[in-house]
Amino acid sequence: MDFRFTDDQLMMAETARKLFAATASSAQLRAMLAKEEARDEARWSTIAETGLTMILLPEMAGGLGLGEVDFALTAEAAGYAWLPEPLVESAGIAAPLLAAINPSHELLSNTARSLAIGPAINPYVADADTAAALLLEHQGATYLRHPGEVKLTRQQSLDPFRRLFKVEWEPSGTPLSRDAALWRDALDRGALFAAAQCTGIAQRAIDIAVEYAKTREQFGKPIGSYQAVKHLLANAQVAVQFAKPVIHAAAASCAQRDLFSRARISHAKIIAAEAADLATRASLQVHGAMGYSWEVDVHFLLKRALALSATWGGPGFHRNRVLTRLREAPAGPEYGFARAGV
């Protein structure tokens, strides 16, 4: 029993954080938005070169063969930076799904290409037009389509960096796989990494609010010296503190693929989305009218948090998974980590 990250894991996370800080600053993202670019090719190339897209790919697919814990830390960093590129959905969910079907699939050979993913639980597919291919679910089977083979209709998300599409297609021909378990795994990873992004978003929202509250003065004092502001941000920080270990434990047990691991993932998804909601709204309130303007970053965080909370299963879906675990398997202090109570 050891809840610490390895040095390798910490180093990888630090690499991701630094890369995003250097290439995906607020100014850089705003400039990209002004140019109406779908993605920043230079940043995406750097991400691929650094190996972040290969964390979850098995070694026989040319990947690093690492696990969900490693990727969760990267997803957290991506949330912190509110990264526009589809790193999480492509490298964290779609590529591992394809690799599970065929680790030698040629689409996996070029790590700079992205894959889009369309599970039954999400009504829209993100970044479908710029993807090399779409992996689509139909009755548990996996179909592969190129963007040109399907009808894509852009659906505007409130998050200006989220590029959603309605995908119209026919599940004709032989699917890549008929194994529905693959989509349960994809949903688990989707929910898990959405949760990880949410804690990153939450922490960023708190950090920028703290910076603002230290300098903005009202009634002759920095607003951060008022208890109302302190307690608002302290509560948000508490929510983050108690979400992170849940995400890390959920990542560590993700491969179990059972009632217990799925309840943990659902737990992580619910509370991380709540932490992001709490923190972004607290940050908005602390920023006052300033926070309500487009010029301050808080709205980007708030919008991303809102979008992620309903993607890969909303609170109701995940709450049902938690209640199912509680109904169908024993609970109590001896079942914290041990499925058999030992």
Partner: protein, 385 residues
């Protein structure tokens, strides 16, 4: 206590309903904060309202109103929201400035400013905040100097709602050297006057909505000062009372949204998350509680009461219920909640997402909810400052 409408009130409701049904535009107007076109479409609607005699129902007849009392005003608002009539682009003028003007203005000022306000010919923006004075309004720095029969205005205002497209602004200015609550004046100025620069500010929803105003030696007639020199703070606090207290947010607005929400929830039938029933019931109860409290307060005001610090309880209650109501709607929409109204598959029956984003500003503007809680604690409960 008699909670039944009189026959006259019922007839008035039916009269308002008939007129609104006949005149409210069939399709929603484009947003007044998004484009000049949207703004002017709303101005045209104000004109139509005025021609029908419905633009300022609670004002005296001499200024274009019907001299209705608060209960009748609430009935009118109920009918207005019932048909989802357009947002009131001149709300800053009609609901915030006009009551102040009627209380503190001279007969000449009322005659000059109220009729074009009622007709929508002149649309008003507020100009309270400054970069260093948000919640702490006594900290404003913009100045006014009297020069003969003119006033010279200088300063930097921000978060001025509607100012991007409006015609007039009203704001607080101080005599140079004065401090805190003293030496302030409430002054009106045309937004196209020489020396006024209007820089639109984008809100988080992408719309413009407010603006930053730079005033450099802007000259207006001394006639444009409301009340005496130095009376500005007192007058402004009266306005803040109206704003937070009663006139800013009609209960009908939330009753209409809550009814839509309940219909939406029940239409989902067995597919609905049962836990959301809790929130739907809550949203409706909140809207009803707000309505009942405003009716009770209106009855009290009709018999000569004054709005005191309980205005602050109203502000907190409507701003929080609005957020809750829209959050619940987004939860019902699930993964489609993030779609903007521009999306093909966005929810058509109600602009829940826009409403949610708008609601998030509620705890901030018109005096942040933190400030309102201080006011309640200190002035209603008597806790030490």
């Amino acid at each position: 206590m008699d909670l039944n409408y009189t026959k006259a009130q019922q007839n008035f409701r039916l009269e308002a309903r008939a007129w609104l049904t006949a005149h409210v535009p069939a399709a929603p107007l484009p947003h007044f904060d998004a484009t000049r076109e949207g703004f002017e479409a709303h101005r045209a609607w104000e004109r139509t309202m005025h021609q029908g005699g419905w633009s300022v129902v609670s004002w005296p007849e001499e200024y274009g109103g019907r001299g209705l009392d608060l209960i009748e005003w609430l009935i009118f608002e109920e009918e207005y929201y019932r048909v989802a009539a357009p947002g009131r682009v001149n709300q800053n003028g009609i609901c915030l400035l006009a009551p102040t003007l009627m209380e503190f203005g001279t007969a000449e000022q009322k005659a000059r400013f109220l009729p074009p306000m009622a007709s929508g010919e002149e649309i008003w923006a507020q100009a309270w905040s400054e970069p260093q004075a948000g919640s702490d309004l006594a900290h404003i720095r913009a100045t006014v100097i009297q020069d003969g029969d003119q006033l010279v205005l200088n300063g930097h205002k921000i978060w001025s709602s509607r100012a991007a497209f409006a015609d007039w602004g009203f704001g607080l200015f101080r005599t140079p050297g004065s401090e805190r609550h003293k030496g302030m004046s409430l002054v009106f100025f045309p937004l196209n006057a020489p020396g006024v620069t209007v820089n639109p500010i984008r809100k988080m929803d992408g719309h413009i909505g407010f603006a930053e105003l730079f005033l450099e030696n802007v000259r207006v007639p001394a006639f444009n000062r409301l009340g005496d020199d130095g009376q500005g703070w007192h007058i402004c606090m009266a306005t803040a009372g109206f704003e937070r207290g009663l006139l800013l947010r009609s209960p009908a607005r939330y009753q209409q949204a809550a009814a839509k929400l309940a219909a939406h929830y029940h239409a989902q039938g067995n597919d609905a998350d049962p836990a959301l029933g809790l929130e739907v019931a809550r949203a409706w109860m909140n809207a009803e509680a707000y309505m009942l409290t405003i009716y009770a307060m209106s009855s009290r005001l009709l018999s000569g009461g004054k709005i005191g610090p309980e205005a602050s309880t109203n502000k907190i209650f409507w701003s929080e219920l609005d957020i809750h109501l829209h959050r619940t709607a987004l939860a019902l929409l699930g993964a489609r909640a993030e779609l903007t109204s521009a999306a093909a598959e966005a929810a058509r029956d109600h602009d829940w997402l826009d409403g949610y984003i708008f609601s998030l500003a509620g705890p901030i503007y018109a005096g942040s909810n933190e400030i309102q809680r201080n006011i309640i604690a200190e002035r209603m409960l008597g806790l030490p400052r």
